[in-house]
């Protein structure tokens, strides 16, 4: 099993959820996050006082899936979230040791 963490543009979240539904990927955890990659700082001015914005709002989405589903999901995320401009985000993939559903005590892929 793998955990896929994708940091994406907030504007892409709804579209991505719909696209993942088509792959029958339903379970996910979503966070509002701040982050930065290659983007340049943005300058803001409050009564003429300069503020440099160097962290940008992103959404982080976490999905845990069987090993054989990883590539499909990653492909779909890229299709939906890629605009070609700096700031599209990143995808991280981690191994998952185990999963436990608290309600039924099921373990492993059954708990997905």
């Amino acid at each position: 099993m793998k955990k896929i963490e994708a940091v994406i543009r907030p504007t892409k979240l709804e579209e991505l959820k719909t696209a993942l539904n088509e792959l029958e990927v339903r379970g996910m955890t979503v966070y509002n996050v701040m982050g930065r990659g290659l983007q340049k700082d943005v300058k803001q001015y409050y009564r003429g006082q300069e503020v440099s914005v160097d962290l940008f709002p992103k959404v982080k989405i976490e999905i845990v899936c069987p090993d054989d589903a990883v590539e499909r999901i990653v492909q779909r995320i890229q299709e939906v979230c890629r605009t070609g401009n700096i700031g599209d985000g990143k995808i991280f993939i981690y191994p998952v040791e185990n999963i436990i559903r608290i309600r039924t005590q099921e373990r492993g892929e059954k708990a997905l």
């Binding site: 803001q44 003429g48 006082q49 503020v51």
Partner: protein, 452 residues
């Protein structure tokens, strides 16, 4: 019949004529209340009051979210404290019979001698009580304005002492100088609704407190940004609305001058918003909402001393002048000089008030209001000189008296909160409350009901 009727008519006519001859004599003996004027000034008083909670939102939006309640509490506290002080002592110091041109005596202590009848000295067509109430609202907003200068770091107990001392020792005398028969009024200074009394006195005093109390922690490391600009817009809207009561009401009658003041107030606010936004648009490439409302308030400040004395065209020019000057002050001059006037109490009220007071000496015209005077533009040099004296006198007195007050209070209680209290935020450390408790994990009651 016809003859009888005409005789009767003649008698009635004669009686009416006789009455109308004697009526004014009666009216002069016992000043009579004009219902129109009275209704107008009562409404204007309520409008000026709403400016202070409006200011709470205007300022509240500009501070960080950990301090929004503390600045709002300061505004509410001023409403409570000054309202009581005014009845007990403040009114008589401002408007009691003159002592040496500098202060009123204690004739009206506790409002003794004030009644539902008009005062022969002030606003002779409205009840004296209404005059007292109207003037009170000015005392409130003035003291509240100062709090913008030392936002996010003053101890609340020190603030209470400061407000009581400041309103008694600075506001009350300065109001007397201009409106209560004091030396500036005698000199011929024109201050229609409080350019010097309200805006210069509060702005300059705010600057002194900001320097005396020191910068906010972290001010040198980072620019501190507003946490809720829509609050600031809401506050500006309430200020703009209330300002109609402030300026038009300062005619103290529902008359032509009130109408003039109403119009030029709106005009100058609008021109101020335009000129500030144009300045920053050219400077940094974006027109900001914060700039638009700041410019509007700067315009309102500038027109305040001039409202009953200048034409609408002059108000346009004043608004165009004041926006860029205040913008330059808050964006550049403040930075250069290095003081931390948190919310620009001096940058907008002190500077805008100064522009307004001097502009009154330029643009005032007796063609607009015969009871005023002619400014530079209309051939009058005297008025401009008097306005300069009024500005200088207010600067010097407000600064020195504020410094003295701060020295004394700092012997009783520290002016600043501790560093730890400041870092945590004044809302929790001083008031034990969070403005936005639902941000906290586990405190999100709103979502409990929709869990599956």
């Amino acid at each position: 019949m016809k003859v009888k009727t005409s005789i009767l008519m003649a008698v009635i006519l004669a009686a009416i004529m006789l009455l109308s001859v004697t009526m004014p004599v009666l009216a002069a003996d016992e000043l009579s209340v004009d219902t129109g004027d009275t209704a107008f000034i009562i409404i204007c008083s309520a409008m000026v009051l709403i400016m202070t909670p409006g200011l709470a939102f205007f300022y509240g939006g500009m501070v960080r979210k950990k301090n929004v309640l503390s600045i709002m509490m300061q505004c509410i506290a001023v409403m409570a404290l000054v309202s009581v002080q005014w009845v007990l002592l403040g009114y008589t110091l401002s408007f009691g019979p003159d002592v040496g041109g500098v202060i009123g005596n204690l004739h009206f202590l506790g409002l003794s001698g004030v009644s539902i009848l008009p005062s022969p000295d002030y606003a002779s067509t409205i009840p004296h009580y209404v005059f007292v109430a109207f003037q009170l609202m000015f005392a409130i907003i003035t003291a509240a304005l100062i709090s913008g200068a030392f936002a996010e770091r003053m101890r609340f107990s020190a603030f209470i002492l400061f407000v009581l001392a400041w309103t008694t020792l600075v506001y009350d005398p300065v109001a007397h100088w201009v409106w209560g028969g004091g030396w500036l009024g005698q000199l011929g200074a024109l201050d229609f609704a409080g350019g010097t009394v309200v805006h210069i006195s509060s702005g300059v005093s705010g600057l002194v407190v900001a320097i005396f109390i020191g910068k906010r922690l972290g001010k040198d490391r980072e620019t501190i940004v507003p946490h809720n600009l829509p609050f600031t817009v809401l506050g500006a809207a309430l200020l703009w609305f209330g300002w109609f009561g402030f300026n038009a009401g300062s005619s103290l009658a529902a008359d032509g001058i009130a109408g003039l003041a109403f119009l030029v107030t709106n005009t100058c606010a609008a021109a101020g918003a335009i000129s500030w936004v144009m300045a920053e648009w050219l400077h940094h490439g974006k027109p900001t909402v914060f700039g638009a409302v700041s410019g509007a308030v700067a315009g309102l400040v500038a027109i305040t001393p001039a409202a009953g004395f200048v034409s609408p065209l002059s108000a346009v020019v004043m608004g165009i002048i004041v926006g860029p000057i205040c913008y330059l002050f808050v964006s550049r001059v403040k930075e250069r000089l290095g003081y931390d006037d948190s919310l620009d109490a001096f940058g907008i009220h002190g500077v805008g008030g100064t522009v307004g007071a001097l502009a009154t000496g330029i643009f005032a015209s007796t063609a607009v209001n015969p009871a005023g005077a002619d400014g530079l533009l209309f051939g009058g040099l005297h008025l401009f000189v008097v306005q300069l004296v009024a500005v200088a006198g207010t600067y010097v007195y407000a600064a020195l008296a504020t410094l003295l007050i701060l020295k004394v209070i700092s012997l009783i209680v520290p002016l600043r909160v501790s560093n730890e209290e400041e870092e945590v935020g004044l809302d929790t450390s001083l008031h034990g409350e969070d403005a936005y408790g639902y941000d906290d994990i586990g405190a999100n009651d709103r979502l409990v009901g929709i869990q599956s």
